[in-house]
Symmetry: D4
Subunit: 247 residues, 8 copies
């Protein structure tokens, strides 16, 4: 909405003063939070809720606010208890305990292709956070789980599908070598996600992070440890560019 | 070249046994190195020479071999002394002491747009490695140097050009906050490059690396400290996808 | 109290031997603790109780002793259980579960201005520890929460109020870039407080700490991770100097 | 200069187009650098040159530009060679090899008081960077060197002068305990500067940095390792507030 | 017992085969442990039990075995639950929840003097582990708690007693500066014990450890974080040497 | 099974399509996992189950699948709860709470000799993981527990048995010196296993890991912290080579 | 030589007192060094000289002593200057600047097979230290250089030779993924050697070390960064066991 | 000198005003340094010069001042160049390039016994700094070099002399296991000195430091990496106590 439209709305009483203020400021003031209502204009993506550590009543308010505005909401790192609280107000909300994603989602087409690969089964929760984030944002996702380098024929049996994706998300803990091997086999960007899976000298994912940052293969960039959401977001940015759909 | 073509070439004496072996193996055996001649087919990018620590005679041989095959060569982290040695054999080679890139480059069109930003002037060598790599691979590059967050109006005066790029490379040392600020202002992916610029508790770039990995903004992925080449490569992958030119 | 006054008090039986000893030594001996009764003379601030790990009976004794002496007490990092125990003896005590501050506070004027800003909502507990500490010590506090750099227009909409403060406290976790951006926009000192908010490679707040220590902006100094109390104390020192009220 | 004044200047040919652009943008474009000409308005301090790694011709240009504009220039981390180059163009420039400060300075009054203390003699270069920076910005500085805690009577013999300062800068390497001890003895803020002085497990100053960040004393904030400049700047901000001279 | 005495004992049936084997081997074989019965001969100190992680039945067996042999037993890092289990078999055992020491102790004279100082009250559990260990081994202990450097007059009021000790144990968390200050004021060795007391960038005691290892004062050596037992042992070695009682 | 055998089996209906696919691909597809059925051919060892973090139903399925195929299964890092779940389906399964190994094991001969030594009793769980793994894979194991360097006569009393082993596994936490001492006394390879046993500056086993990696003795290689399984596997590889039984 | 033989030699004047002492003590006393003449009996390997930091005259003496005793000497980490000094006394000595090995070597048969692989060309110096060490100790070595995972077909083209080795040494810097990939493809032990090759967040080889320690593949153990010698030694121990030649 | 004596000296003109001030303050003011003339009274040891980074003229002045006062001077970490400068003024000064100690020393008796042991030959410079410091302070020193644990019979052949010392200094780099092994064999305190000897994951001595701090043996305390001086000082404190010579 352009500035003159907002001011006309105020003059003509079609827009409340609060809404006008929110449009001009670019955020909704909740006291404990300033929800960035301008984000979608700037970035092409709506505000997403990072549920971790949020109190139940704050979270319910935020979900209600975003749902009213957009008709859908995506939240990450939600707990079972948070889900119960939100569900009381918004019965359409769903929760996946594996990825910890809590969302209300509209039907939408899924475009392009993102391949999401994990080294092991313990990396799947992070991969699902990436996959469901990408799908929420309208990407088509192809999953390949447990294709780590200790049995490399498993990866090779899927490599053609992986090579055909616009962007590949490589999720791995322990030593995180999967990203380098995929990076050497594909044309398109690889988003590497280190996970905290492992023990001992993995130092909570630092080992996999350093592996990915130091990769000898080209075309790899790394996000934070266990940051499936960030990978799904970035992969969607790239997938949209490839599919010609950036607004 | 397909396998039957290679074998026909051998049969008809149009292909030497050494060349046939190289095509089938996918690499040229130099004893001390196995140049990956299959790389361009797999990745869409030719082999690039990481000159650091390579002996002079090895480097000259590699440049000659790649030049004969492709008509152009890109090398990074080259020294003045290496340049002198290569120049004796390949007079067309050029060297830029700022970026430390040594190359022979064919004329080519530059497509799409990549914006490359630095926080300070000391980050420019890394930015130029990124920029010249991206240009070698056919990307159009827009440079914005010294736009760090301590005087944020400098960044704001250039923000529209930055927002119009298919991919942004944010190069910063010290505390590396530039990537987060840009990430909050653009639609397309940001490749963050931490640099070793700084002193004291920057720990050779670790501080900027952690900043970028932990960024609160979306759409940011990070490459190794001072890895301008990697950023230029990855930005080109994304730029090609956006420009619809992936082969 | 000067030495000759103390000795006269002892001679005239207006001062007990224990009290005289305490004045001369400058501390009250509790066996398990030596409360620094000389602190207010040296520093202009009374002793504050760091409640963490203190046993219930020790804590109750300390609160009683300080309350008798000063008529008010400030404690940080208190638990609900500690509050219940102290409340039985001192019914006027109050407890704020967000900041974990437990206090008895006299009415007092609030002078000058300190601006306290957070990057996100999860940083608010640390910010409130700073804010309520500063208020207890007599500073006027202006709060600006959730103004992190991923949506920088939120900060900009508040910048004039922030610029008018004598001291700014910037509280941020994850990559901690907020301090640098504010530092570039204000005249007066910025106290940077890294928080442990985040996950993965934030390493419990180390990432934000390094960001703040390496800031490219001038006029920034850093306190310990999650140390809202220390920031509120230091900001008050500066605010008092600016308001001309150092005793 | 206000916008309408600038535009009038352009109309009346009293202001060149380049100067007008610089005023409106708030920086001077040098290609390799964007000197922040708006800084003094925002922060009350002029741009200072961080000479480290700057090429000779860039540095000479920057010194000339700043000298023309302000009549004085402050630069830190300069080398003997840089001094020789600048001196050829600006004969008034002076260089102190201890602090590595290269400057042209106008006469000015020095107000308030900042006390600068070092633990040992090897910390003096960092302390001098702080002291001369503060003096350049108009502060009165009182120096107390080699007053480390291994012979605490040396500190005690100077404590009254230290207590009378508006701000204390505590410079220490090795274990950095000086800041805590001073912090326990004064009313006003202590800026702690860890230095890289020491060996073995000092890890280039990390040991002193952690000591200062974890100080048990109140009223201490820390800047980067060896960052005398930052301490002098921040101490001046506080000193100006105390002296009532913030513009 | 000399070898020929042992063999005579076996020949004369005054020594069982198991006991003879234990004397010759120098340890008692428990399967899950080899108790070092030769230790007292080599070191002048009996075997001490590190209770942490030991199962209840193993612990009871070990306490019984050592009690039978020596008539007293010292154990560290014991839990309430372990105490309950041992008490059922050995009713004389005592347990101190503060130091977590569980012991049966004979009456003995206490010689020499060891001064044990803490920076704060939260360091007392570690100090008590040191103090009770030293007392068990026959040292006289003088305790000075809560004498940290943020109020240095508290330390100064006790300094003569501290200077008169044969060995000083300095226990401190947070920044650990106490050891350096004491080291500058005494003639005899200082054993520095870093503790995990603190938060944020104390990294579980690493900060205090680095402070103590890098101390600018002479005559300081450091033991592991929270290792009160090790400090009490070493202080006793020194105290015995000073008191002329090494056997 | 060779490819032509597989195809004949399909043609003759003696092999289901699923089984044929599994043989050709080299893994069994479970959706959430790809069990590497080709592993035994490549490595000489069957797939082993890392039970940690696996859900109960996934684990039961995997145990059933592997048991049907091989008649025995080895799993590590199992919990009591996982054991209860598997036992319901596979009554022959056994569980050892010390090593956390859950297995069904066929009778088999044990060949060669591996010596497994620990520094203390707290290292035994890791040592038992190594020992039982090696025994499952057919190695003869000789155990020497609690032979750490603080009482070196305990190690010396067992040294001849240790020297006679084909491979020695040295398991130690705290400072991990045991590996170096054994390394200096034997002919055959030493596999060093750092454990997380200790406290304070052991940093979860990092201290012992660095000790072992930096060992001054020859013939030592190191596995991950607490990785008894990896040591037992590698020791068996060496033991098989020595016993001439590699298939 | 048995003790009674030594004593007979002394009695019969066929053995000097110095030699007898050396045999009984098991080392030769040089004042600044105690050469371990008993090592070969204990370990099956002679003493090897670590030349780094040794003074020229000490080194010459040590080479002479070892050459006289054994007729051959192996030294690692030698410099050109050390070689010149030793050559003056021992003309048969040879020096390889790539591996920095300086040796005098007898003819000997080479048994079994060790495969030594590198990820890149910059890893070759470390690999050659391993290879020449193994050859000096009598192993047959098969070299495969520049087979890193960014072009995995290069490794695959050599995999059969690698699989046929008794032990594989995997040498890699940067992210060090090579060891995991090889580990998944072979039956026999893999010795992983991290190298300091790389830059930025490789932290001098720490990145590759963590990768190898955390490897998801079985049968891998790791030696110190750049420790080619240690890998060659350990690989020879294993190769000798496999070839049945342990003395 | 007592206060009344000083004042009498001033009154009677036998003491200059400068000297009186120095006695009362307890230090000599050099501007760039405050030499601690009270140290010997407090600690029993004179001021020692840490030469590292001191300028030539400062160093010469300090040596002259201390020599005039005491008739002897001890300096550590001196360079050849510093020695040349001091020698011009003080011809009696001597310099040992191995230990880097520069001193003028009076004849004195050497009492008690300190044993100084090194793991390897490369640790000798640090050991000599310890040994010569202890000798300067009047201790008798017994040296045992190159007795590291990879050939433990070398240590065992000297163990009786080591056991008879009042204090043992154990100097070791790489993995630093020597301290633990000695600690298990002796009655008296062990001062552990980690050295920076080694490479790769020794991290400049951190590995040995952690080993020593985490030692499983009792009676060990640790000083800074390469801090031979500190070990010699502390060992002398203990040796004096044992010999009954503390003044």
């Amino acid at each position: 909405m352009e500035l003159n439209e907002i001011l006309e709305g105020v003059r003509d009483h079609t827009l409340s003063l609060e809404e006008a203020q929110r449009f001009i400021q670019g955020y909704s003031e909740y006291g404990y939070a300033k929800l960035d209502s301008d984000r979608e204009r700037r970035s092409g993506f709506p505000e997403v809720v990072f549920c971790s550590r949020k109190s139940l009543d704050h979270l319910v308010n935020i979900y209600e606010g975003l749902y009213l505005e957009k008709g859908e909401v995506l939240g990450t790192r939600a707990t079972e208890e948070q889900y119960e609280a939100v569900k009381k107000k918004l019965s359409r909300v769903t929760y996946d305990p594996l990825s910890r994603i809590m969302k209300i989602e509209k039907d939408k087409p899924h475009i392009g292709k993102i391949a999401i690969c994990t080294a092991g089964t313990a990396d799947i929760p992070v991969a699902e956070e990436a996959a469901q984030t990408a799908e929420f944002f309208g990407s088509l996702v192809s999953r390949h789980y447990d294709v780590g380098v200790s049995g490399i024929h498993r990866l090779m049996s899927k490599i053609e599908d992986i090579q055909s994706a616009n962007c590949i998300v490589a999720v791995a803990g322990m030593e995180g070598a999967l990203a380098s091997v995929i990076g050497g086999l594909v044309k398109n960007p690889v988003i590497a996600v280190p996970t905290s899976v492992g023990y001992g000298a993995n130092f909570g994912g630092l080992s996999a992070l350093l592996t990915m940052i130091n990769s000898c293969a080209n075309g790899i960039a790394t996000v934070n440890i266990d940051n499936g959401y960030g990978a799904g977001y970035l992969a969607t940015q790239i997938n949209r560019l490839a599919a010609g759909s950036v607004t």
